[in-house]
C-alpha cells in the first residue's frame, strides 16, 4: 500500500537517472553474462572455436538432468554442507568472542581473520596442498598419535572440506560478527532469570537471536563452495569431482559449452531458490 504511493508516482526522472550507474553495472556484469550463459545452454555444441552454434536444442538439459550426474550433485551437496557446518561451528564461537569479549582488540582480531584472505584463493589452496601432503605438518602431527595416512591427507574428501572451510570462513564470520555485535546480552540474563540454563539459553535465545547471521553466513559459504572447482581439483582426487568442476570441464578444452551452461543455469536456479527462501530475518543482514 505504502509502496504504491512511493514507487508509483513518487520517483522522479532524476531519481531514475541516479539509478542508472547501478543499472549499468548490474546489466554489464550480471544480466548480460547470465543471459549469455542461458542462451548458450540452448545452443548446439561446436568443436571449433565458436564453441556454440545453431540450431537451438534442449540436448544440454537432457544431458544435465541425466541420472549419471546425480552422484556429482550429492557429492557437491555433501561437501558444501559439511564446509558450511564446519564454518558455523568454527565461526560462531570466533565471531562471538571477537564481537563480545575482545574489547579494544576487536578490530585487530577481526583483521587477523580477514587478512589471510587478501592473498589469492589459489595460493591459499596450494598452501593447504603443502600442509596436507604426506610429509606435511598435518600428517606428521597426526603421525604422533598414530593417525597419519600414507600419501598424506591430500586427494581425500576431508582435504576438500578443509579447503572449502578455510576458503570461505570469513564469509561466515563477518555476518555472524554483525549479529553478535547486535545481540542484546541482557537477553541472556533474562533467559537465565526465567529458569533456563546455558544449554537451553543457547538454543532458545542465542541461536534464534543470531539466526539472521547464521542464515546469511551459511548462504555466503554454501553458494560459492557449491560452485568452487579449484579447491576440489587441487585438494581432491579422482572421486572428488564436484558440480563446479563438471561445469569447468565443459568450458575448458571446448568440451561442451551448452552442457556447462545448462549446468550453470540449473545451479543458478537452485541458488535463487535458496535466496528467496532465506527468510525475512536473514534479510536484515544479507
Amino acid at each position: 500500500m505504502g509502496g504504491m504511493t512511493r514507487g508509483g508516482t513518487g520517483r522522479s526522472l532524476a531519481g531514475w537517472a541516479a539509478l542508472a550507474p547501478a543499472g549499468l553495472w548490474l546489466g554489464a556484469f550480471f544480466v548480460v553474462p547470465v543471459a549469455l550463459v542461458a542462451q548458450y545452454s540452448f545452443a548446439t555444441r561446436d568443436l571449433g572455436i565458436a564453441r556454440v552454434v545453431l540450431p537451438w536444442t534442449l540436448d544440454a538439459y537432457r544431458l544435465a538432468l541425466d541420472p549419471a550426474v546425480l552422484p556429482i550433485f550429492w557429492r557437491t551437496a555433501a561437501y558444501s554442507l559439511s564446509a558450511t557446518l564446519a564454518c558455523l561451528v568454527i565461526g560462531l564461537p570466533l565471531a562471538w568472542f571477537v564481537a563480545r569479549h575482545a574489547g579494544r582488540w576487536r578490530l585487530v582480531l577481526l583483521g587477523a581473520v580477514l587478512v589471510p584472505f587478501w592473498a589469492s584463493h589459489l595460493a591459499r589452496v596450494y598452501a593447504w596442498k603443502a600442509l596436507l601432503a604426506e610429509d606435511g605438518p598435518v600428517n606428521r602431527v597426526l603421525g604422533l598419535v598414530g593417525l597419519d595416512r600414507p600419501g598424506g591427507l591430500l586427494l581425500t574428501d576431508a582435504a576438500v572440506v578443509v579447503g572449502l572451510t578455510y576458503g570461505y570462513l570469513p564469509f561466515m564470520v563477518l555476518p555472524l560478527y554483525v549479529v553478535c555485535r547486535r545481540f542484546d546480552p541482557r537477553l541472556l540474563e533474562a533467559s537465565y532469570d526465567l529458569g533456563h540454563g546455558r544449554f537451553g539459553t543457547f538454543f532458545r535465545v542465542v541461536l534464534p537471536g543470531l539466526a539472521p547471521g547464521v542464515v546469511a553466513g551459511s548462504l555466503l559459504v554454501l553458494v560459492p563452495s557449491v560452485g568452487d572447482f579449484v579447491t576440489p581439483a587441487l585438494l581432491g582426487g579422482v572421486n572428488q569431482l564436484t558440480f563446479g568442476g563438471v561445469i569447468d570441464d565443459q568450458f575448458r578444452g571446448g568440451n561442451n559449452w551448452p552442457l556447462g551452461s545448462a549446468l550453470a543455469v540449473l545451479l543458478l536456479a537452485t541458488v535463487a531458490v535458496l535466496w528467496v527462501a532465506r527468510g525475512r530475518r536473514a534479510r536484515e543482514v544479507l
Binding site: 546480552p185 541482557r186 540474563e189 533474562a190 532469570d193 526465567l194 529458569g195 534464534p208 537471536g209 530475518r281
Partner: protein, 435 residues
C-alpha cells in the same frame, strides 16, 4: 487469576507485618568492581508480600544489589537469603526470583505469548495448564489478545507489561524490578505506576523495586530504603522517610517539588528549653529563629551549628502587614525571590533575610483563585510548627547529587539504557545556595 482474592483491603492495612522469615534478607553484603566498592556491608530485610523500594542516585549501588539478588552477580562477602536460605553461588536459573528489566529484554524472536510462556517451559506444566497460566498473566497486565504479536509491534508501555507478565508467570517468591518505568514517558509512567500497585495487590508477591525516582518510591512502596554510596542511609515507610529524613542526604534526595530546593537551613543553636518530656531547640537562621523538637537521644550545645529541614508544604508565608505566624512557631523573615504557579499549588522561592544564599521553597495550596492574596515584594515572614522542623544529623558531605567517590556503577547494568534518565535529584539553585 480466579484463585486470587479479589477484594482489596485498604492500603495502610495491608502493610505486611515484618515478622516471620523475611522474603529477602541481605546480611553485610559487599561487592566491588576493580578498586571501587559498589555495595558495602549492606544489610536489609524485605518482608513477605511487601512492596519494597530501593531508592538512590545512580552509582549508589542499587542495581548491583538487585543483580546480586537475581543471581547475575555474586557478592564478595556477606549473605543473601531468599526465604531464609542462603543463595550465594546459586545460579540465576535456580533462584526463586524473577526480574523485570529496565530495557524489558523481551525475546524479539518470540511472540508475546511465547515470551510469557518462556519461563514456564522448564516447570513441567501440562499443555492446558501452561495455556491457562499464560492467559491469566496476559490478562493480569491487560494484554489478553496481544499474544500473537511480536515485541516490536508493541508500544514501550505494552512491552513493559509483557515483561512483568513474563516474570510473574513463574510465580516467584520475589519479583525484582530494575527501574522498570525509566524508559517510558511521564504519562505512561504515571499510568504504569497505578498498574504496578494494582498488580502487586492482586498477586501479593514480594516486590523489590529499584529506582532513582523518589516520587515512584514514595507512591508505590510499603517501605523503602534510601541507598547512598553502597550503604543504606534510611529504611522506613514513605511517610517516615519523607517526614523524618534521617540525614541531610535523605532530606535533600527526597523532595516532592519540581522546582524547589531541599529546604535545608544552616544555623546555630540559640537555646534549648524543656517543657515536660518535650525538649525544644531554637536555632538562629539569619534574622529568624527556627524552632524544632529535639529527639530524646540527641543533645545540643549552645552555639553549635546545625541543619534543619522543613518540607515546603509545611511552611506558610505571612505578608508583612499580617500578624505573622502564631507564637511558638518558627518565624523567619524572608524575601520573595520567585513564584511558580504549578496548577494545584503555587511554589514560592524565598531567601532568608540575614543569611545570604539560604533558600526556602514554600508551597501554597491554590484553594483561592489565582492572583488573590499574593504576597507582594515587601517583607514576608515564613513560619511553621516546631514538629515540622527536622533536625538533621551532623553530615558534613550532605550533598546528595555528588557522586560518592567510593561507589562504582556496575559495568553493564545501568549504562547506556535510557539517555536522560540519570537523576538530578537536587535542583541547581538549592544545591549551590545551601552550602
Amino acid at each position: 487469576m480466579s484463585e486470587e482474592p479479589r477484594e482489596t483491603p485498604a492500603r495502610v492495612q495491608r502493610v505486611p507485618e515484618p515478622s516471620g522469615v523475611p522474603a529477602v534478607e541481605l546480611r553485610g553484603v559487599t561487592r566491588s568492581y576493580a578498586d571501587q566498592v559498589a555495595v558495602r556491608e549492606l544489610s536489609l530485610r524485605v518482608g513477605e508480600g511487601e512492596f519494597f523500594s530501593v531508592l538512590g542516585p545512580s552509582g549508589s549501588g542499587k542495581t548491583t544489589l538487585l543483580r546480586m539478588v537475581a543471581g547475575f552477580e555474586d557478592p564478595d562477602g556477606g549473605a543473601i537469603l531468599l526465604g531464609g536460605r542462603d543463595v550465594v553461588g546459586v545460579p540465576a536459573y535456580r533462584r526463586d526470583v524473577n526480574t523485570v528489566f529496565q530495557s524489558y529484554a523481551l525475546f524479539p524472536h518470540l511472540s508475546v505469548w511465547d515470551n510469557v510462556a518462556y519461563g514456564l517451559r522448564r516447570l513441567g506444566l501440562r499443555r492446558a495448564e501452561l495455556r491457562t497460566r499464560v492467559g491469566d498473566y496476559l490478562e493480569l497486565v491487560q494484554l489478553a489478545g496481544y499474544g500473537r504479536r511480536r515485541p516490536h509491534q508493541l508500544s514501550g508501555g505494552q512491552q513493559q507489561r509483557v515483561a512483568i507478565a513474563r516474570a510473574l508467570a513463574r510465580r516467584p517468591r520475589v519479583l525484582l524490578l530494575d527501574e522498570p518505568l525509566a524508559a517510558l514517558d511521564a504519562q505512561l509512567r504515571a499510568q504504569l505506576r497505578v498498574e504496578l500497585t494494582r498488580i502487586q495487590r492482586e498477586v501479593g508477591t514480594t516486590f523489590l523495586y529499584v529506582t532513582h525516582d523518589q516520587e515512584e518510591a514514595l507512591v508505590l512502596s510499603h517501605r523503602l530504603a534510601v541507598l547512598r554510596a553502597g550503604r543504606v542511609e534510611q529504611v522506613g515507610t514513605p511517610a517516615d522517610v519523607y517526614e523524618r529524613p534521617a540525614s541531610r542526604f535523605v532530606a535533600e534526595f527526597i523532595r516532592s517539588s519540581t522546582t524547589g530546593g531541599s529546604n535545608v537551613l544552616e544555623g546555630t543553636v540559640r537555646t534549648v528549653t524543656t517543657a515536660g518530656d518535650v525538649a525544644t531547640v531554637e536555632v538562629a537562621v539569619g534574622e529568624g529563629s527556627v524552632l524544632a523538637e529535639l529527639p530524646p537521644n540527641r543533645a545540643l550545645r549552645r552555639g553549635q551549628p546545625v541543619a534543619v529541614a522543613v518540607r515546603p508544604e509545611k511552611a506558610r508565608l505571612y505578608a508583612g502587614e499580617d500578624a505573622g505566624p502564631p507564637s511558638g512557631w518558627s518565624r523567619v523573615p524572608v524575601r520573595l525571590r520567585d513564584t511558580v504557579y504549578t496548577g494545584a499549588a503555587t511554589e514560592h522561592l524565598v531567601e532568608v533575610v540575614g543569611a545570604p544564599g539560604a533558600l526556602l521553597t514554600v508551597f501554597t495550596q491554590n484553594t483561592r483563585r489565582a492572583g488573590e492574596a499574593e504576597p507582594g515584594g515587601g517583607p514576608v515572614l515564613a513560619g511553621w510548627e516546631p514538629r515540622f522542623s527536622v533536625l538533621l544529623d551532623d553530615d558534613p558531605s550532605g550533598d546528595a547529587s555528588s557522586e560518592p567517590s567510593g561507589a562504582a556503577r556496575p559495568p553493564a547494568a545501568e549504562t547506556g539504557l535510557t539517555p536522560g534518565s540519570a537523576p538530578d535529584p537536587v535542583g541547581v539553585t538549592a544545591r549551590s545556595d545551601v552550602r
